[in-house]
């Protein structure tokens, strides 16, 4: 196993997928299925952000723009054309990748803090374009009227069970693809740049090209997350591309852990579960969530999985 990490990852992914797909056969819980659907969109989004943050040391505050772009591109393609769902989804991801290429070309040369803020400004510009371009996007009221749920290999995505299955498959495949990228020589190059860019430069790495590639890949996967989000809400809304949504992804990454591949997934699961529980109990969920975040940030000092991993290492040593 040790010699075939890719095989091991694929095996874990397959097991996870089978478990997810089997659950509804034993117990149907609409709330659980909704939860998994939302986790799938958000986890792809957060993990793609971590390709940048943890993988390449590029802290983007504006990653939500690609999530939103994916959602809008997909929803618009489904509403305005007769493309089948996978084609529309792939086209939406391609559009998002082009968007990420344009934004990345401007941003990637900047230093950490300025990179963070320019990506944020780009996102706010994108957001204000969505609001302003009302004839196309529906402005602040979002793209209404629903997304036509065309049948796909016998899947009818209007049905919650089928949407659940579809999202579970897409999430697992998407995560596996990102895992593959992170574990590839390219992923190693990014980590080298993150740790010491001067040395990476001496070793002949073209810094901007590696960074831009990472930025485009991360954007594309965020777009895939956006496609799932659009399917869940059956439309696209500017809030998907708004700053708080980028913030959510950042917190998911931080809560779960930036140095562990599955950290953002775990962070997403915690964040959404917390949200679901706390909003049931109190309208002061900001207060509760804030205290929980503080407890994590000051108590663990790092994401949950990073913390557990370090503890295990500590125990072994």
């Amino acid at each position: 196993m040790r010699r075939h990490p890719a095989l091991r990852d694929a095996l874990i992914a397959a097991i996870a997928l089978v478990v997810l797909l089997l659950i509804p056969a034993f117990h149907r819980s609409p709330a659980f299925e909704d939860y998994v659907i939302r986790v799938s969109a958000m986890a792809l989004f957060a993990t793609s952000l971590n390709l940048l943050v943890g993988g390449a040391g590029m802290v983007s505050f504006g990653h939500g723009m690609f999530y939103g772009l994916g959602a809008y591109a997909f929803a618009l393609l489904m509403q305005m054309t007769d493309l089948s769902l996978p084609v529309a989804a792939l086209a939406a991801i391609a559009i998002t990748a082009v968007g990420a290429l344009l934004v990345g070309a401007v941003c990637i040369r900047l230093g950490t803090i300025y990179f963070a803020f320019v990506t944020l400004a780009m996102q706010m510009l994108f957001f204000s374009i969505i609001i302003s371009w009302q004839s196309l996007t529906g402005g602040d009221q979002g793209l209404r009227g629903g997304i036509p749920r065309r049948e796909l290999f016998g899947f009818e995505l209007g049905s919650q069970l089928h949407l659940y299955q579809f999202c579970a498959v897409v999430m697992v495949l998407g995560l596996l693809a990102m895992r593959h990228i992170a574990a590839s020589p390219f992923g190693a190059t990014l980590r080298m740049i993150r740790d010491n860019e001067t040395r990476a430069g001496f070793l002949g790495v073209v810094l901007w090209r590696a960074r831009l590639t990472a930025f485009v890949l991360a954007g594309a996967f965020a777009g895939l997350g956006g496609v799932l989000a659009a399917l869940f809400v059956s439309g696209a809304y500017p809030e998907l591309a708004d700053w708080p949504n980028s913030g959510q992804a950042i917190f998911a990454v931080m809560l779960g852990g930036i140095d562990t591949f599955l950290g953002p997934l775990v962070g997403t699961m915690i964040l959404l579960a917390l949200n679901d529980i706390v909003t049931r109990v109190t309208e002061y969920h900001g207060l509760v969530l804030g205290l929980v975040i503080l407890a994590f940030a000051l108590g663990l000092r790092r994401g949950l999985l990073d913390f557990l991993r370090l503890r295990r290492k500590g125990a072994k040593a």
Binding site: P30, A31, I131, D140, G142, A229, V233, I277, H285, L300
Partner: protein, 412 residues
């Protein structure tokens, strides 16, 4: 000490795992009838949710004292969507699927209500939108849903009523040069355009000398105010609302704006009227909710009861939610069922007696939206009743022009 510290952190870490399992513990089914209510209960426009919830609380007490629905006591389950459409969609599904709510009150603002609409389409449960004023929610047959209704004022009704009133006002005062100042998003832009369109139809000689579009929640409106003053209009029409409207009045006062032009707005409601310390006299405004209009004992008693119970004035959203429950009450009785389809059949075309109707009644038209609710225009005074000399709108004229508008939009 060291071991204790690690123990505490581990506890924190493992505790999270337990929390993850919690949301799907099924709630026990009770004899009580649960009604799901979702709205914005946090953030800058939390008043939307809280004043809706207050009204529903009063309704629950009243209805339960009278024996509940079909002999079952009712209970509201309140949820906060934070104004995010994806949360609104999730919450709506959760209320029905896991919390066991059999009826829905959707007290979301516009974009949230569209997200809820799609969920209702899937679930087939009965739902009344109580706060969305966007006309297309029910007017557009592509967006309308068989079991979803609106009990709320509506953009196009307000635009017709307001422009008719303002056209007469402008003719009487010989005002032809107008400026507009509205928030820069769909509500502000569409509704301003709608007002102007009906306004020009009623009074073709008006001229719009300038238009300003501050962004929603813009704290500092100075450059907008000076721009408006320089254009030297005789009157200003604004769709700013709540905190933005209050800031506009305070900052306009600094520039003596209100002495240089007549100001007209449909949005001076109690929260704004009571918050502003130096409210100028003579602003032309619609009544979103007013205890003294319609001037009847039922309305007055309800307003006073609300104030006594919650120590604040009711809002426009409060009466809309109250009327929604009055419609549910009548429809449940008529259909003798809670089924979405049966209730929809009962609600369509239903007319109820209510103090908030302009003639003591409000009708749920067959396109799932209410008519005959109170719309009036008057002028502001700095002390209660805050708006005086209120003229009721002519519903015959509203419906006539609305029908024309719907034809132009290809809705009918």
């Amino acid at each position: 000490m060291r071991t204790r510290k690690i123990g505490r952190r581990t506890l924190l870490a493992t505790g999270t795992a337990g929390m993850l399992a919690a949301p799907w513990v099924a709630g026990a089914q009770a004899k009580t009838l649960r009604i799901g209510m979702q709205s914005i209960l946090s953030g800058p426009i939390a008043l939307l949710g809280t004043s809706s919830r207050n009204a529903l609380q009063m309704e629950a007490e009243r209805i339960n004292a009278a024996g509940g629905f079909l002999g079952r006591p009712i209970e509201f389950v309140y949820r906060d969507s934070k104004g995010q459409p994806q949360e609104a969609a999730r919450v709506a599904r959760e209320l029905v699927n896991s919390t066991g709510c059999e009826l829905l009150i959707d007290a979301e603002a516009s974009s949230g209500s569209f997200a809820v609409q799609e969920v209702v389409r899937d679930l087939g449960v009965a739902c009344i939108h109580t706060n969305s004023e966007t006309s297309s929610l029910t007017a557009d047959p592509k967006i309308r849903v068989p079991t979803a209704f609106r009990v709320a004022r509506q953009g196009v009704h307000d635009a017709i009523a307001g422009s008719t009133y303002l056209a007469k006002f402008a003719t009487d005062k010989k005002i032809s040069k107008w400026a507009t100042c509205s928030p820069d998003y769909a509500y502000g832009r569409d509704t301003t355009a709608q007002y102007l369109e009906f306004f020009k139809r009623a009074k073709p000689d008006i001229e719009v000398v300038t238009q300003a579009w501050p962004k929603l929640g813009q704290a500092d409106l100075t450059e907008v105010i000076t721009k408006l003053i320089q254009a030297k209009p005789q009157a200003l029409f604004t769709l700013l609302y709540a905190g933005d409207l209050s800031a506009f009045v305070n900052q306009g006062n600094v520039y003596a704006l209100f002495s240089q032009m007549t100001v007209a707005s449909p949005n001076f409601d109690y929260p704004v009227l009571t918050a502003i310390k130096n409210l100028p006299t003579g602003i032309q405004s619609a009544t979103r909710y007013l205890e003294t209009f319609p001037d009847n004992p039922g309305n007055k008693a309800w307003g006073e009861a609300y104030r006594k119970k919650f120590n604040e004035y009711p809002t426009n959203w409060s009466w809309q939610n109250t009327v929604a429950m009055q419609f549910y009450e009548a429809a449940v009785k008529k259909a003798n069922s809670l089924d979405g389809k049966a209730l929809a059949a009962a609600l369509t075309g239903m007319k109820i007696n209510t103090p908030f109707g302009v003639d003591g009644t409000i009708t749920m038209r067959d396109d799932h939206t209410t008519i005959n609710y109170a719309i009036g225009w008057g002028q502001t005074v700095p002390k209660p009743p805050y708006i005086t000399d209120v003229k009721p709108a002519d519903w015959g004229r509203i419906v006539e022009l609305e029908t024309e508008w719907k034809k132009e939009q290809h809705y009918i």
